[in-house]
Amino acid sequence: MSELRYNPLLGEWLATATHRQDRTFLPPKDFCPLCPTKPGMHPTEVPEPDYDLVAFENRFPSLKNDPPEPAIQSNGIYEVEPGRGICEVVLYSSNHNTTLAQEPVERIYKLIKVWRNRFEELSSHDFIKYVFIFENKGEAVGVTLHHPHGQIYAYPFVPPVVKKEMRRSRKYHKKNGRCLLCDILQNETEYKERIVAENQSFVAYIPFFARYPYETHISAKRHLGAITDLDESEQQDLAEIMKQLLAAFDRLFDVSFPYMMVMHQRPSDGKPHEYYHFHIEFYPPMRTATKLKYLAGSEAGAGMFINDTLPEQKAPELRALVQPVTWAA
């Protein structure tokens, strides 16, 4: 059962998805549901003996294209809606024992092509207002399957974090006639100390306002709103800077670095939202080689993050670990 319930205190929707309690949880490698189905072996969710990249509807979706009616009715104070939306899984590789950070840049380039394909198709549904591309990596952020994969949630509304960013961006643009994120990027590139990596199209940086010690943003230098706006060289540059950042993450503590990766782009509601700027945010929970950052009372209950570190001191650590990327001939 999945339904959307509205929180009148915060003015936000949340989804209940009770069937997800029964989803596959950290299965042994031989029973990974995201591996290809090898002849004579246990059948997986992917009924073919090999694949390059695959996207499919989540077997345990939080939102569905054809959801059942809610079990309870809205009343004067509580609003409830069917949990309508689309949840996809994107498999990065048929190799169970890899991660995006370990893959060559060419695979990340392919993944960018897949993200563009899914953004375009999911955005074409009338009831979809926002396409949210993300990855949860590592048990530290709650993954239930280790096979390298990301997810896409296509929401019937603009989710609250993006809505808040858009409101701030729109207000700034109205007051100053400029894009807020373009100005943030200009400030960061002039200051330099918080830059982790840079190429002709993108900058990776730990922003002035980072909430996690190694929270890193990748922003497009050109003002654009969505991944489908990237030209060919920008797609390749994005693949390259992602490879550099993810590999630097892994080198930091010599572990497969856990993170949440979220892509912020314009809504899919048919409006231009020209004041908003495409970027990707990474939230790694590790604050040292042995300690993780928790969302505790102040963060979860008050919305005020406490960062135990300074971005100006953490960015040089990552920057020192960034290495050149080699493309296959």
Binding site: V54, F56, E57, E103, V114, G138, Q200, P285, M286
Partner: protein, 65 residues
């Protein structure tokens, strides 16, 4: 933005094959070709990278405030 933007490699083309699953879900398989139509799927362009054994540890699972 620099005017002399350079491509790092030849552009690739994406191809999709949509499959209907028995339970009604869809699955989209992606393949890739270069400009001459050469298949760039697994093993030809962008296969698996470093072995995971290159990394020596696991991230901590227990969180500390």
């Amino acid at each position: 933005m620099p005017k002399d933007k350079q491509l790092k490699t030849d552009p690739i083309n994406i191809h999709e094959r949509r499959v209907a699953m028995p339970d009604g879900r869809y699955m989209v398989f992606f393949t890739f070709t270069d400009g001459s139509g050469r298949d760039l799927s697994n093993g030809l362009h962008g296969g698996s990278g470093e072995e995971p054994s290159a990394l020596h540890g696991e991230a901590p699972e227990e969180q500390h405030v």
